[in-house]
Symmetry: D2
Subunit: 392 residues, 4 copies
Amino acid sequence: MLGSGFIGRFYADSLQGYRSKDKIVSIYSRKQESAKKFADDYTVAFVTTDMEAAINRPEVEVVCISLPNNLHEEAVMLCCKHNKAVISTKPLGRNASEAKRMLEAVEKAGIFNGYLEDLVYTPKFIKAHESVKNGALGRILWAKSRETHPGPHSDWFWDIEQAGGGCILDLGCHCVEITRSYIGKDIKPIEVMCWADTQVKPIDAEDHAIGLIKYENGSIAQFEVSWTFRGGLDLRDEVMGTEGTIWVNSFLRTGFEMFTTGKSANYVAEKAESNTGWVFPVGDELNELGYNHMFMDMFNAMENGTQPKETFYDGYIVNAVLDAAYASAKSKQWEPVKLDVWRGKTGLSQDQHLTDYDADHYLVKEEMTHYGAKKLILKNKKTGKIFEKEIK
Amino acid sequence: MLGSGFIGRFYADSLQGYRSKDKIVSIYSRKQESAKKFADDYTVAFVTTDMEAAINRPEVEVVCISLPNNLHEEAVMLCCKHNKAVISTKPLGRNASEAKRMLEAVEKAGIFNGYLEDLVYTPKFIKAHESVKNGALGRILWAKSRETHPGPHSDWFWDIEQAGGGCILDLGCHCVEITRSYIGKDIKPIEVMCWADTQVKPIDAEDHAIGLIKYENGSIAQFEVSWTFRGGLDLRDEVMGTEGTIWVNSFLRTGFEMFTTGKSANYVAEKAESNTGWVFPVGDELNELGYNHMFMDMFNAMENGTQPKETFYDGYIVNAVLDAAYASAKSKQWEPVKLDVWRGKTGLSQDQHLTDYDADHYLVKEEMTHYGAKKLILKNKKTGKIFEKEIK
Amino acid sequence: MLGSGFIGRFYADSLQGYRSKDKIVSIYSRKQESAKKFADDYTVAFVTTDMEAAINRPEVEVVCISLPNNLHEEAVMLCCKHNKAVISTKPLGRNASEAKRMLEAVEKAGIFNGYLEDLVYTPKFIKAHESVKNGALGRILWAKSRETHPGPHSDWFWDIEQAGGGCILDLGCHCVEITRSYIGKDIKPIEVMCWADTQVKPIDAEDHAIGLIKYENGSIAQFEVSWTFRGGLDLRDEVMGTEGTIWVNSFLRTGFEMFTTGKSANYVAEKAESNTGWVFPVGDELNELGYNHMFMDMFNAMENGTQPKETFYDGYIVNAVLDAAYASAKSKQWEPVKLDVWRGKTGLSQDQHLTDYDADHYLVKEEMTHYGAKKLILKNKKTGKIFEKEIK
Amino acid sequence: MLGSGFIGRFYADSLQGYRSKDKIVSIYSRKQESAKKFADDYTVAFVTTDMEAAINRPEVEVVCISLPNNLHEEAVMLCCKHNKAVISTKPLGRNASEAKRMLEAVEKAGIFNGYLEDLVYTPKFIKAHESVKNGALGRILWAKSRETHPGPHSDWFWDIEQAGGGCILDLGCHCVEITRSYIGKDIKPIEVMCWADTQVKPIDAEDHAIGLIKYENGSIAQFEVSWTFRGGLDLRDEVMGTEGTIWVNSFLRTGFEMFTTGKSANYVAEKAESNTGWVFPVGDELNELGYNHMFMDMFNAMENGTQPKETFYDGYIVNAVLDAAYASAKSKQWEPVKLDVWRGKTGLSQDQHLTDYDADHYLVKEEMTHYGAKKLILKNKKTGKIFEKEIK
């Protein structure tokens, strides 16, 4: 385990949770004190502030990177050097160039690589995604993911040099991969339009952004990210298809509601903002946030010699999309997604899917009236005229 | 009453509902049959297919326009000619030019004019708006309004010539005025970015669109509109401020849930898509959709010689914003909102609002840790360095 | 209007709201100051502390009683004396004896009488009730109504002499009439089982109670009432039928959610307990709580010479059921509902409704398995043996 | 593993899920075919239709009973005979006599025993229970648990001889232990009042029941159970305390909502009733229903030589409470809970907790008025008089 901060501890709680056969055997942190505390809490045998020493140990089978963004590349290169399987927290790089170098390095070294995008491993996402794949929503038109909260816990996130960006990079990386998965990971993201601003915080990076991503088949993805939201951690996805809709609320409204006058002052949930009045805890954060299913997929894939659902390639695609978002926020126009590496479909055109009513007409809409009749709105194929027709 | 269609009937239900002193005395429709039926249902004395005849009657105190968009201007001009107070359904015009001509005409004629934007009169909006005005959310950063459903009921909506556009014009007009009201109606909308597409329907206009509107003070508005949504009428607003958040769901989740195996087949709600399984009716649609409070404001204003909350001026602003949205959807870049008439503030600059922690530091964030300590993230004003500090 | 307290003001807000033709012309209060303030706020011409004087005025067409429970009977008798239509707040009496005397008096005097049970006039109830009547839920098995909050606003409620009881009488009267309406107002309530206790408050009456009411057709009603609930006004109904379910949340979760850090301190909603953190206001309390539709029904009935939905007869039934509840709380067993006056059906027996599968078997259950087969659970009519059968 | 039916498969999915070190090594079923299929699906080495053979194998460390209720006692006795740790599904016995014999047997044999009451292991329950223990709700006044659905999957549940009862035994066992845990497992349940009926199904046992359980400290528990509910699996708990409220919805409303027109027909969730329209799947049923945390507690306790949270003793208490419920449903009065074995507190009296306002007055209620004043309702300690007082 590289990194003993907030996310490293979340990972460790998941990795050693339930009745797991997996163990953390080596911990690296930039600060000795923090590494030591982590080792005590999680019973880790080897403790070091030397990253290479943490990696290069015989008992280490896989290296888990939970470091600030600017240290990912260095860590990945060391894993390549020592031929260790590597899994990295999100985002993979601070930009697509870093991500591409990491991708090429692990593939050249031939080592197992996993991208720890936990939010495509949440139980709700997994089931929703299955439904989408099974066609329950028909053709996907739009997928939105929203992650907003009052700002990250550690100082380095707020420093644009270490983090590489603001909430677009920190939170948008989740949203991009979630929506891309709903639309289809083999569908090419073409261009991005993004608004970003620093509305509240005294920082150089953006603290609020909204973006649209256009895919080659005409589907549209949307992300809404912010470090200025008040009320907790807002984590919601929405998907619209020609035959259905999915709404997922992963955090603030999950069927657990508590009112308290506040004579107790205990920890409620990650990024909750108050512990009196109505609060909305999550039962099992590790599971709801996808950590358990993510590590299960990673380690099972390693053991089976297969690829996990998320690899460095996916991390690279995400970085490329986010680069286009940053470019668009500056240029104020749609910007192309630059993909030197692309392994999905190409040359798709936008679907049309006109619905015939009969030989001469398209069906525009069909509905039931108040009084029980069937009302059709039809379009004449030749004249283009649109008219109503009622069938009793 | 001009127009006897879906919206005209909704208006009539509201106007003559409760213990009202107001009455419909004259009905015009393009079709005699429809006018006759309306007159029977609502006990209206005078029935005609001649628009001018409907208006020019001594007992008519105010004319209510519920006609297709392309007939608004003609009707307004007739009201001016006969010096009748006029209230018009939304959108005011098919574009800002039409709207501006109507605005100028009613003001020149000196007649009372009201813009029937019902969704800023819903009980939830009214209460939410009060909270915003009272500062419960602090400075407003972002306001979103979403209206999507499976498409309008009448044929003319689907015809771009009569309607003037697709779902942007039909639904976006609501969203623009809702979000503008949250941000402040005296704050100038500056520019718009919009994506629009015809993803499903065999029509010339757009059936799905998403747009962003930037205001002079840096606030951002967002609209999401579609005629391709499956699941009913999705009518939700969200507002983010520096001190709070508002979420309003006006239709599909209002505290009324019903499961039925379907041995009954009755009307559930406007634009509901099914009447078996779990359905989500609204108790009192007229009230929840704002019709009652809207007409109350209109008629009280008329009687008191004051202005209603929404006038043709507001309708014109909305049309101007939507024109910019259409321009942006074509040009693929942010487009300016062209406002020949503007009666609000000008020259605002974006707020900064840095929060001092002490003489040397800005406060980036303050939070409680799991273990009950207070954790600060601070920024040195001189060096710009960001660091954590814990207070126990 | 008799009474100028909390409920009197709610009534007045409703009566004179929207574009109403109805006016309050005379106000009585026990305290001059309170009567005067009411008259000022609602522009009432005649102000008095003499109840009879308030009633016996030529311009008074109907008397609205919003007095403490112990004064209802006196007020009703004065209305009888002066031959004035009367509508009374809930509960009608402090017990069935009082209620019966009032019922007999108004019927003998031949005056219009209405029972102001607002919660069977809420828009949600009205629509839900229609669905039930239309058979959407099949045969009704169970109806529950819950009303709990942190306690009433005025001192007299807490005094068992004036109020006649505690939360059973104050809140249970609503629940009894709501559930009775779902089950059918012509179905006879037979017996009641009730638990009641004074768990928290320093009072003689109960502050928490739960009761079950058995109807002649085997349907069961349930009430849950308390003055010790924390978190606001919890107002929920649930109905189970053989073909469906209804869940109504009338107050705390109606599609309006607000988070605020609390720099504002304004009134949120009746019986809300906090104004910071997540709060859940109701858009239009008067409408959501049924006042508007209630007065509309009352006055329309008066004008049409018909009966309103709720009369003193209904108030009497409710009191009789509550009397049985108090008896059961003491005796710790089911107690019969004593109804000297009953105008509904009698002699019903409990429904059986066995579902035949074929000549030899009853259908116990039918379901779809994971793997798409249809699974039946059947009962042999002769042997009584229950077994599974799968159909692919 | 004894039993290869619905619940056995759920257990197996959980036991061998995630990255578990635990394995099923032996499977017994009454039917060879079913045992064989189970063994294939879960890679179980030893398959038998001889219960004793399944138990008496050296590699078996713990026996998991997932058999019909009437076979629990036999299975437990065999575990005692062969000195195997045993964990049993719920309810422990068909009645308290059976449960008591099992309890005494395992304790005499000195073997590890666990009671598989999964619903006190759900992540939501665990967190809610922590909050209650930490005092977030103050003194607990009432705890309700509701489990209703359209009926169980297997035939034996519907047969009163095998099952021992109807929905009270099947579902009430969950509700009793959930509510007992909120109130405090060391607080003695004293008496029970229960209504039960067979309203719909052609069976001898009850298909709908509601019960109240009084505890020695005056707290009240409530269960609502039914096999006639339409709409899916309704699994909700509510807790009221002097300082707060908890609402948990474990199944039908967990933040996952899907609308589909139904071109897909896949499995949605345990006991869902439809797969078109609006459906409400649960992300990870095994985790949400508590299986994972339950087995973790059981096996960790075994390895550590400690007791799990739920033992046969708890199963016995639950059976004793349910026996009283059945007795009450017959006698129509409150029935005492007969506990030959009780290891908690005794002799508690009901709490009073009067709140002093000052030397002469109790505080009845304190609230904020619309207009910002503080309103107190006080009771004179000597005279008992209750009055209002306003503080500005």
